[in-house]
Point group: C2
Chain length 198, copies 2
């Protein structure tokens, strides 16, 4: 019922996570109505996405240079290593301007239900990095406060136990601007347990 080139785009778009066949249809017809000058940059951006891109071999953040701009920055504090799940978590933390250390991107979390085990993450690389770099003094575990994120943090903590490196976990508590009344019990419990001196 639809021309082949349109159907092809719908099929390709609906393969993306979170985009169902209806959304793919709507996006495709929207693009069809757009001028070619609007579509071309998107097509080019896709085809050129990986050009010159790689993962930093120190921290596994996505980068155009080796080492990446964070690992290669002499002003960053190499003694603090922040372990995150994802490339976008680095971006999120960088936006706070509260952290001047370096990162280690795991590229996932331990999740037996999704078939993700330790060897699919950059965990061996993390442990080797800590062992071979005695200047690393503190590991900040900044995986998500989700079931899998907590399990991964626990796993790393267990592995590094007894090593001469301080291990910390990002604070879990009430988000800024929130309301005690509407907080879930797990968050409120953590907020009480992890209360800070005033």
């Amino acid at each position: 019922m639809l021309p082949k080139s349109l159907q092809k785009l719908i099929d390709e778009l609906s393969k993306l996570p979170g985009i169902g066949p209806k959304t793919a249809q709507r996006l495709s017809v929207y693009l069809l109505r757009s001028p070619h000058s609007r579509i071309k940059p998107l097509g080019d951006a896709l085809l050129n996405l990986k050009d010159g891109l790689s993962f930093c071999e120190i921290c596994w953040h996505v980068t155009e240079t080796t080492p990446c701009s964070i690992c290669g920055d002499p002003s960053r504090d190499k003694s603090k290593l922040c372990v995150v799940e994802d490339v976008l978590d680095v971006v999120a933390i960088e936006k706070t301007y509260q952290f001047k250390g370096v990162y280690h991107v795991l590229h996932g979390v331990l999740s037996p239900i999704d078939g993700v085990s330790a060897d699919q993450l950059k965990l061996a690389e993390l442990f080797k990095r800590i062992e071979t770099n005695p200047e690393i003094k503190e590991i900040i575990l900044a995986t998500n406060p989700s079931l899998e994120g907590e399990a991964t943090a626990l796993y790393i903590n267990k592995y590094l136990e007894g090593k001469s490196v301080k291990i910390s976990r990002i604070a879990r508590g009430l988000p800024m601007g929130s309301d005690l009344e509407y907080a879930d019990i797990a968050t409120l419990g953590k907020a009480l347990t992890n209360r800070t001196d005033y």
Copy 2:
């Protein structure tokens, strides 16, 4: 913080309707992790989208041939003309196998609030088509049962009043499988007013 090619893709994706900056980020990182063989078909599909595609000059459906496969099909009943808002509405109606007539795609609805007036739609083309094709006996107004869709149907009905052509509107009533108790008053009202003989 992110490499240029990745940021470019995020920017381009977030220009699409219904895709915000966070979704664009997530999709881009997903694509970054995918092999090139996964990304290339999507990029190609985008760049080739308009190749050989045009709008049928009779019904304004998207097509690779002139006239389109529906208008050019001698088995279709040319006396019944179904007026729809959108290319995807043709697809939706075709999937029911309940309609063997031909279509007219308006490419939008009258919507003063969005600045869409009659001359931006294929309305003049519709009226001319009806005037110059005396074989058209019935116009089925199949615009959406929304405020704008109803207004557009009313507009077409007003214009064609007094012309020797039957005008009908798709039935509005309770959707199949629904529950009377949870129906909104507008729908239930329509369902009662438009009740059919049993």
